[in-house]
Symmetry: C2
Subunit: 167 residues, 2 copies
Amino acid sequence: MGIEIERKFLVTSDAWRDAAHRVVPMAQGYLNDLAVVQSGAQNASVRVRIEGDVAFLNIKSRELGASRQEFELPLPVDDAHALLALCVGGRVEKRRHLVHHGGHLWEVDEFLGDNAGLVVAEIELDAADAPFARPDWLGAEVTEHSRYYNLALAAHPFRDWSASERG
Amino acid sequence: MGIEIERKFLVTSDAWRDAAHRVVPMAQGYLNDLAVVQSGAQNASVRVRIEGDVAFLNIKSRELGASRQEFELPLPVDDAHALLALCVGGRVEKRRHLVHHGGHLWEVDEFLGDNAGLVVAEIELDAADAPFARPDWLGAEVTEHSRYYNLALAAHPFRDWSASERG
């Protein structure tokens, strides 16, 4: 089994758009109130996820010790859109642009809605220190900053970030 | 479109067992706390349902005025059993016996767990007053008694019924 390392960066310009060869609309949300799962009153979270023309329902058990169960059910995209409208938490929408550069595939996520204005670029590497060619438009690394996680962006969207959080 | 009327009865003996030609293990439960959906803090309920060798996830939106959305996703039975273990509400298990009598198919539900001891027989008819042959083992009709509904049996199981409720 391979281990994949994901590194995440800000972008400093729109220059990546010229090299983008495909865009995938993505959206996710949770049918359940996330606080209810965290409180232990419920044992599983139910996420709706749309990636272009496919969609999934993801069910994750609350972490109990080291064990956690995950289930993924394919979902018709029309149903997924209807379910997304019923979601009460974790709602994030973005356009994922695929950009080839220097032999690597970058995923440039352009967020929408309450996170509009935020753009981050991700690269998957075989090791944390694997070399890669830096595109001109690449900015500071934010891999370790949890405020860029999907769930964090749903709870505290980019619209509400302070100047220092926007870095 | 046909309209189906379901009538529900108690049974007075075990004589139906001799005529039962098939048994289907059934189970259901809800991943979410039902009170959360009823309170309006959540917009949809997620039910896990196993019927013999098939299983489904049923998502229902909270009723808003006259409109309600329903989604049914097929689920591997193994996943369904694992998900049932994560359920926090509406958990009911029973064995459904199929019994032919007088040209009609009876479903005799033998409940398990907290509802062990309860057995009810259901028949589907084309009209509420459609004639049917009464088997010897058929008891009083309970069609209109809401305490026999699955959700009611989950919240207030047969084990906790008073003598008059068992009546």
